[in-house]
Amino acid sequence: MRDELQKRVVKGPDGVEFEVEPLKDYYCEAPPAEHPPAYLKIVEDLFNWARSQSLWILGFGTGCGAIEMRPLMTPRFDAYRYGVQWRPTPRQSNLFIISGYLSVKTLKRVIRSYEQMQNPKYVVGLGSCTINGGMYWDSYNTIKRLDDYLPVDLYIAGCMPRPEALLAGFETLKHIIREGKAEGANLYARNFDWYKANQKKVIHDWDMPDYNW
């Protein structure tokens, strides 16, 4: 663990020394909670419609797929037509596209970002690498099954899939959302221990709280 995360003894302005334990003192330790849908079905349906019509993608490119996302903003594909847009902060995003191979180092950042997104949130795996490792199937540093680590709502196969495939994927995702089946965040909270165990199995220097609020 890095130095700045180690316990340290500091001296207050009044001269009294005390311990600071960064992981406890600086990070919230609460586990994630499951959040039930709205009580009224009609309300939840409205919400799901709105969610499906307003997919805010976290601007986080993990692999070569990141380059396939850019054309979506251009006049040729213009994903904005479909209510899709990109946000630079996970707090405001509700769709995380894992765009390609995912190294262990990046996985840690992906987990962090994913956990900083708010419920409901959706994960789309892009390309074969997220499905089974793809051409990196025997790499020492690339995870092979994304859904071991995060609840994935949708895979878009290909190496790499074209932007058209992505657009089709968005439409499919919208269907899933509207049907109320995109409950990945709740799944993650429910199976939190299992996900954490998987994550910690590959991330050897786990230097963050279990849930990154």
Binding site: H35, F47, R51, T74, R81, P88, R91, Q92, N119
Partner: protein, 301 residues
Amino acid sequence: MDFDWMKIPYALLTLFIVVNYGMLQNALIAKIGARVGRRRGIPIWQNYADLIKNYSIRSSITHGVMYYLGPVFRLSGGVGLLLFVPSLYGSEMFSNLSFAGDLILALYFIFFGTLGMALGAAESGHPYAAIGITRGLQQVSAAELPMALAVFSVALQYQTLSVTEIVAAQQGGFQNWTLFTNPLAVAAAMLSFLGSMMRPPFDVVLAPQEIPIGPPTEYHSSYLALMQTNRAIFPIAKIVIYMNLFFGGATIWPEFFLKVFLIYMVSVLVGVVHPRFRVEQSIRWFLVWAVPIGILSIVLV
């Protein structure tokens, strides 16, 4: 106290109209921006979907009391600003709550939301939020100056600080608008207007690539929803002031919509074709180009 309680439903009606108009107008303007880039752009109802989506987000976090209150301040600032200024001239129904104060109240109330938002964003502890706020404050401090000069020039011109009376003085044909009777003041004010609309070249506050969206970096779900609501109201409330001071005000809603839209378009037209200023560049720009015009308008009025 002889308070006319009917003012409250009337004010709420104004609010309702303006919120909806603001949502649609924002979408329309986004579409116009998209067409400039040869895209089709978002659907016209996209803002509603986004708003409902954000209210429907089930979880949220809070960094503390001020963080929690920040968006409340923000939206209160927008709503208050809208309601402190009469929307339609000559309409008892849509004079809102302007009995509480005059133009000065409106101008200073703009800061209410800004301050609350800044405090809330700052409590998130995010450095980008703080950087964004300082940029915003610095830029606004320079951008406000021509506006203040212009307002002052107008107040001197009409010898009143009451918005209603200023509008009244501009009635009877467009040649009576301040735009034509005091063009320098209008010029200064419109340059200031560019600076306050968070559009290029004055949008370094948000700078998505560098300090992801600046102050609201940490805001999400219903907080963000409140702020989105404000985004629909606040620019319009501000433009209403400009409209009343410089462009003859409005007597009916269509006129209101048209004028607000056209004034808004000024900043859009400038914005879509300009790159971005750094903060010190925009400070200098306002002081060198806009302020002298404002000074001239004061001296010559």
